[in-house]
Symmetry: C2
Subunit: 424 residues, 2 copies
Amino acid sequence: MGSLKLHHELENDSHMMVIPLDPEEFRRQGHMLIDFIADYYQNIESYKVLSQVEPGYLKKLLPESAPYYPESIETILQDVRKYIIPGITHWQSPNYFAYFPSSGSTAGFLGEILSTGFNVVGFNWMSSPAATELECVVMDWLGEMLMLPKSFLFKGTTCEAILCTLAAARDQMLNRCGSEKMEKLVVYGSDQTHSALQKAAQIAGIHTKNFRSSHQNYEVKLVHADVEAGLVPFFLCATVGTTSTNAIDPIGPLCEVAKDFNIWVHADAAYAGSACICPKFQATDSKLVVDYKDWQITLSRRFRAMKLWLVLRSYGVANLRNFLRSHVKMAKLFEELLRNDNRFEVVAPRNFALETRKKEVLPWPNDNNVANQVECANELNKKLLESINGSGNVYMSSTMVDGAYIIISIGQSPQYALGQGPDC
Amino acid sequence: MGSLKLHHELENDSHMMVIPLDPEEFRRQGHMLIDFIADYYQNIESYKVLSQVEPGYLKKLLPESAPYYPESIETILQDVRKYIIPGITHWQSPNYFAYFPSSGSTAGFLGEILSTGFNVVGFNWMSSPAATELECVVMDWLGEMLMLPKSFLFKGTTCEAILCTLAAARDQMLNRCGSEKMEKLVVYGSDQTHSALQKAAQIAGIHTKNFRSSHQNYEVKLVHADVEAGLVPFFLCATVGTTSTNAIDPIGPLCEVAKDFNIWVHADAAYAGSACICPKFQATDSKLVVDYKDWQITLSRRFRAMKLWLVLRSYGVANLRNFLRSHVKMAKLFEELLRNDNRFEVVAPRNFALETRKKEVLPWPNDNNVANQVECANELNKKLLESINGSGNVYMSSTMVDGAYIIISIGQSPQYALGQGPDC
């Protein structure tokens, strides 16, 4: 490319034979990489799904400093095979049932690669109109698919959505009741609310003693108590599909109370696969174009729409729906197997077909002390999960609910079927 | 892949012939995409560097809803050529001299593709040890290259770095002087400080009337005035290489004052190419492993280290240094051309060899009113830049300094030479 050739001519250093963006070299190395990744997926089931490395393994294997002279792509890919792949927990493996569901799809990957290839910095409309406008278009498509009103706004990540809405709600409330009330502001969530809420509240400057983590939807009582104590409730996070038990908070009743006290209700449906929810900012109303930098924490924005566009077009709404239905079927099948096995107990209703849980309940300890029984059951469940994950053949996660240790097996989620990346 | 074949078997819907992660299909489409991007760079100089589209152009060209049935990758890539490329401002073009420098490199792209390919969600060590550990290794490499002390910590983006340090400084100060002082906290920057500071202050809950944007380093006077007024100065952002004039704030003197009042000094060197600066959080000291989710706003983290690793290894420190030196030479050359042309004036010193500026000063209007002269010169500069950018052959940006409209031409930056993406 012009500028790089010029810089090449300016240099007489023999090491400067490298031209950072030579199209033919990109082509050669790019094809190698595509084959590398295709081979990885061809063989993914042969790897231990949960990485078996010890903390600090990589530092011992790699040099202490960056290389002074260039190394070939062949050498580098060899090291990826030898040093990196053993340290990877294979999220896209069919044997992966922990944390979030697998999200990979060919179309999703190609969209990422294309977005990377153009490498535009979409911080305002002019900086690359197509990046902003394609995002508007595919977000409308997605909103329609989710049957969301037009006024909804999509944020980059769940964490960012919660922080931005929390800051907006905070300023709205302070405008109403005066900035001196800042330290009186109270945020509400349940003990199953995602940790992103607590992090967001801290960043937004909400006093830690004013963060309420309610047990079993006692938010309403807490709100009344806080108001009597002279505090200012302003933000309530209800969850549609908690990460732990996939529970659904009673949004209706919560909104009723919220209305009485002008509390902003944020419905976090990220895990259940709905897009992030956040009322449209007034600032953008009158604008001819959208500058995404005003909607988010960072200035610039990846050409992320390219990815969703490719996913929606490559599979079509029909396939994406079928894809989810098929995973509902798989989850139901798995649930049936568990219900017909008296060693296991399904301890939470299967919502969204994203999860089933199993809990070892036998054998009981030989005494009538319930506490001991629970403790023993927890111990057995823990051992069971350790042996399952230790094998490296399957990876599942766990949670604690009402003092009970529960094993979680996670299926596919709409969000991921739509090919969203790991920015959650 | 297993799970997907199973889900395929569960479905009798003819549309479900698509298998989202079939390695051979990924291989076929991946190779097509690599050629598509290689061809894009082969022809990049043939495109108008600044997109010539009108706002709303894309909505008219694309369907109102997501397609119900799948479309082929061939069709999609055809649409990318027809509808997307005309709407792209070509940041990687050798004719692009606006905003940030071009950042693309083959190794950077391959690193992104590899990171995308593994698609791991690195929110804690266990979720993919290699992602966390490789980041530690390459950040040490980079720190050594930049001769930074070991205690430095790298954030995902400049904006995130400023917000996280601001929140940490805020809580540190409130612990010292009491949370009721929240609305008294004052943040200081210069009128050339990046807008990220103001955004961060707003998110962190700093009262808007307590945000000081000082002109020509009057921060010291402002601090004394605020202390006398009973306010609490707590955060000062000094910039090493402002985005507008690439000016360097007098860090030494500022730190002296800051020390007297326990003010946290944040040095923003993002644009000058240094990595983000942010004191190590105490919380991570005792940990055996690092959980990056505790260091950032979002929960998860891309496998970004893969990109920097490939860049450092593919080019080596020697080439990266030469790469920067060659751009210093180009900037010097350009500056000489301007100095030898009496129609132009270089109005700000060329720092870091990242920029030169030129300002149309002739012809002067035929009166002695200086205000009119400045206005007229500004008008001429504006017209000049519009005609340059309007041609679509070159893209440059502008800034206002002391009421003067100045045209900016931006070269290459170390940060970008290191292959960092557009997440700044």
